[in-house]
């Protein structure tokens, strides 16, 4: 369940956010949307795919965190087991909303901060206060604002990446088949990646188009990250063997 409200220092004056990642804390999901600026960091630890946004039709970079719907293999009892955490995870329980405003006589939509007051990390008793005693913005909220700003900027970069990859016909659907050490098999649908062969066959024009928009590196990052599928399977196997030794 979630309930999004425009954040303000009167309605939400007492709210705190505990920033500890753990099971049943609102982070039990198996994919996290990612943005081009964070791909170099994420590709070292997460398998990255594209997921098609059915509303916009764009292909959005996404980190795979687990194989079943609520399985997050990076989530442990002692925190988030990775050096870099995707911005869309770090932003929780906050999100970007939009408000219609007339600024300098110009009707425009301005980004504003929303909070999911039903998020398990939000309470009046546990964690870091969002606001200072007199209603000022805490350093924690400052940090959230810069994360939301990076995400806001990331949307444009992600749109641009999707458009050029679609234009160059480099995106292909992929089925990820994995087998765990207990013999169970799993197959993931609905994921897309860059067609390696077509990418390697790109002529100067295509490469130049990717490079000039800063997306050549994004493609390399996406492709390199695929090796992490193996490491994700290893995480799953460790969980399975922990489970066995516990019983």
């Amino acid at each position: 369940m979630s309930k999004h409200e425009l954040l303000d220092n009167v309605t939400h004056r007492r709210l705190r956010v505990h920033t500890i990642y753990g099971p049943n804390r609102g982070y039990d999901f198996n994919i996290a949307r990612a943005f081009p600026s964070e791909l170099p960091n994420l590709q070292r630890e997460y398998p990255l795919f594209f997921v098609k946004n059915l509303e916009s039709g764009h292909f959005e970079p996404t980190a795979l965190l687990g194989f079943a719907e609520h399985e997050n293999l990076y989530l442990t009892d002692s925190g988030w087991d990775a050096e870099h955490i995707p911005l869309t995870v770090q932003r929780q329980p906050f999100l970007i909303g939009f408000q219609d405003r007339l600024l300098e006589g110009i009707a425009q939509q301005v980004p504003v901060t929303h909070i999911d007051v039903e998020h398990p990390s939000v309470s009046v008793s546990e964690g870091i206060p969002i606001f200072l005693p007199q209603g000022g913005e805490s350093p924690y909220l400052d940090r959230i604002h810069s994360i939301l700003a990076a995400i806001y900027a990331g949307h444009e970069a992600a749109r641009s990446l999707s458009q050029i990859l679609v234009g160059l016909e480099l995106i292909e659907s992929i089925t990820v088949n994995v087998e765990f050490e207990n013999g169970t098999k799993h197959s993931l649908e609905g994921l897309y990646t860059v067609n390696d062969e077509k990418f390697r066959g790109l002529r100067a024009n295509g490469l130049e188009a990717l490079h000039s928009r800063g997306h050549l590196q994004d493609v390399y990052m996406m492709l390199a990250s695929l090796l992490n599928v193996k490491r994700l399977v290893a995480r799953k196997n460790r969980r399975l063997s922990d489970l066995r030794s516990a019983t």
């Binding site: 219609d100 007339l102 300098e104 006589g105 110009i106 009707a107 200072l132 005693p133 007199q134 000022g136 913005e137």
Partner: protein, 330 residues
């Protein structure tokens, strides 16, 4: 109200801004193509406007007919008596056209839209270039409306381009006699007089009689301009089924200067509720440093050490802003 005739040359504007008295300049803009078109028919004025439109979204206020076009609050100031809608210029003009045929049409009103944003290119032949300082040109389109008396912190040269408008102006000092409403919940950004000018209730608002004795009024026809000095209260009624106004706002202020109203809010927060003796001392301090600054403020301090007490340059303003921002955030 003082009246002049003919086009306002730049020198006249300078002089008006210095004098700070309201003036009507008849037929000042009668040569503007928009004014010419509106003199033919409202349909031709609408067609002229649409010729410049490139699809920018606009915000408009929509109110039920029962409010007689008064952009105001509901009973008990619980809410505003209008809805804000996001529309397009053709959408706005359609609603006005629909209303023209009916006696009890809903109010539709687009206020203070940036002219060059909504109608790119129209300003060239339908506004005056203003030199120096900050300036902005806005367009106001609607049917019969009443905007309650309020002030703006800018000098204003407004031109009726279509329809008719009645302006009722009061000097800034009439503040206490106008029964001004909330400063934090306003219909369109500025605090307004709560007096119903059409049916004043002198039992409820007795001092309004005094305000009226200081009022000046004028009805403007297409092509007429009015100079509304900064901080003068103005109550504005659009009288025709289709009204267009283009106004120029400007002030001579350095780019680092923000809205004076911010300082008022800050002073209400930090000074108003001090013990009376402290407040009186601060009144003296404000007079000394802000309202009547003279040579005695800083002449005895070495120039390099005057900081905010000397002329404020950009670096000094930046430091003050950083300090204020840090102090406010607590």
């Amino acid at each position: 109200m003082r009246e002049l005739a003919g086009r306002p040359p730049q020198a006249l504007l300078q002089c008006l801004a210095t004098e700070q008295t309201p003036v009507v300049i008849r037929a000042a803009a009668s040569h503007w193509p928009l004014v010419q078109a509106s003199l033919v028919s409202s349909a031709s004025a609408m067609a002229y406007l649409l010729g410049f439109y490139r699809g920018a979204p606009v915000h408009a206020f929509v109110a039920e007919a029962q409010h007689d076009g008064r952009i105001f609050y509901t009973d008990g100031l619980a809410n505003t008596n209008f809805q804000q809608v996001k529309t397009t210029l053709p959408g706005l003009l359609d609603r006005i056209r629909d209303g023209e045929a009916r006696a009890d049409s809903p109010t539709i009103y687009m206020g203070s839209a940036a002219l060059e944003h909504v109608l790119p290119g129209i300003a060239e032949a339908n506004s005056w270039p203003l030199e120096g300082g900050e300036s902005t040109v806005r367009v106001w389109i609607g049917n019969q409306t009443t905007v309650a008396a309020h002030y703006d912190a800018l000098d204003n040269l407004a031109v009726v381009c279509a329809g008719r408008r009645r302006f009722t102006l009061f000097p800034p000092a009439q503040l206490a006699n106008l029964y001004v409403g909330p400063i934090d919940f306003t219909p369109a950004g500025q605090a307004i007089s709560l007096v119903n000018f059409d049916q004043p209730d002198f039992a409820l608002h007795p001092r309004f009689a005094e305000a009226l004795s200081h009022a000046v009024t004028a009805v403007l026809e297409p092509g007429d301009a009015i100079f509304i000095p900064c901080m003068w209260w103005h109550h504005v009624q659009a009288l025709a089924p289709f009204n267009v106004l283009i106004n120029h706002w400007w002030r001579e202020a350095a780019p680092h200067m923000g809205p004076p109203g911010d300082a008022l809010l800050h002073a209400i927060l930090n000074i108003r509720d001090l013990p009376p003796a402290h407040r009186r001392a601060w009144q003296g301090i404000f007079n000394h440093y802000v309202f009547e600054p003279g040579a005695q403020v800083a002449d005895h301090i070495p120039v390099a050490r005057r900081g905010p007490l000397g002329p404020i340059d950009e670096d000094c303003a930046r430091k003050m802003r950083a300090l204020l921002r840090a102090n406010l955030n607590r």
